[in-house]
Symmetry: C2
DNA sequence: CGCGTGTTGCAAACGATTTGCAATTAAAAA
DNA sequence: TTTTTAATTGCAAATCGTTTGCAACACGCG
């Protein structure tokens, strides 16, 4: 119920120094907690909850509130993306430098294991939907749910 | 920030008596609160939060906890479907009798107005995703977000 | 090295949702 | 219709994820 299933990974990765550089450029401080959080996000290429990040952090590096605040900041700067899976908790994943981070996941409803999915909702159809309804700046949230191989007992 | 935008509606509708019948068949009681909640869901063909349902109910028909419990029951019986839009609150929408209720929404990020969307994620691609990753019983959650005509100031 | 502003820890506040329990009531049984 | 019984409700307290006020603190510029 807690393990992570198989998950092939895209090659986009960014050096930690690049990450901190982005922070510095916006006159934000590179504090201990932030550096540690970036390390964790960098090491776990899956959406993580605030609590998961906290417990992955070296021996009480910081307070849970700081994790929340850091992720807000990173999200506002476009460095992480927020996801919502089955439970109520928000999850965050690092976004590559050039990358806009838009992609989807296939989540196991049993063990919560995550696989990144390359496929996306067809752009032309999304445009048509926007046009038909007179909406602007239309985007989408899309996640797949199912039972992973290991959990098909 | 609170009004509902335009929203064409599919013809699927079910008589209240059919709804209560479904309850009765599972030896659940047709109580005042439940009947009232079904009325509201039937009258508002959009996903509603528990709180919205409560305040739409005739003059304190019941407690908020009862709304929560009723919607859990209805969800478990497959009579309503749960959605998550931008804010943290769950929203529920009645599911037609034959219908499995699977459809998506286009939500205005400004006024929270909702439009039902007929389009769905291509089934063959979903099947391919499931096959490729060895997952079973794969479904998806898909919602569109954008700015509705009225909110494009 | 000292200062000023961005940051943090802590605890309290919050909003959504859940739950224990005793009182209530719809529906089956008599 | 009355009785019986199990489902249901109200209320308040408990949870959970998340946010925030505030005083203490620490980057990093000069």
């Amino acid at each position: 119920m807690k393990k992570i299933c198989a998950h092939p990974h895209p090659p986009r990765r960014e050096k930690i120094s690049d990450l901190t550089g982005r922070l510095r450029r916006e006159s934000r401080k590179i504090t201990g907690p932030r550096a540690a959080i970036l390390e964790i996000l960098h090491a776990h290429p899956h959406p993580l909850t605030n609590r998961e990040i906290l417990s992955a952090l070296p021996k009480s590096s910081c307070d849970l509130a700081t994790v929340y605040r850091s992720l807000h900041l990173l999200e506002k700067m476009g460095m992480v993306k927020r996801y919502h899976f089955h439970d109520g908790a928000a999850r965050f994943e690092l976004v590559g430098a050039g990358d806009n981070g838009h992609h989807h996941h296939l989540v196991c409803v049993n063990c919560a294991g995550v696989v990144e999915i390359a496929e996306c909702f067809p752009e032309e159809i999304e445009k048509k939907i926007a046009r038909t309804n007179g909406f602007k700046n239309v985007t989408h949230k899309l996640e797949f749910f199912g039972t992973c191989p290991k959990c098909q007992a």
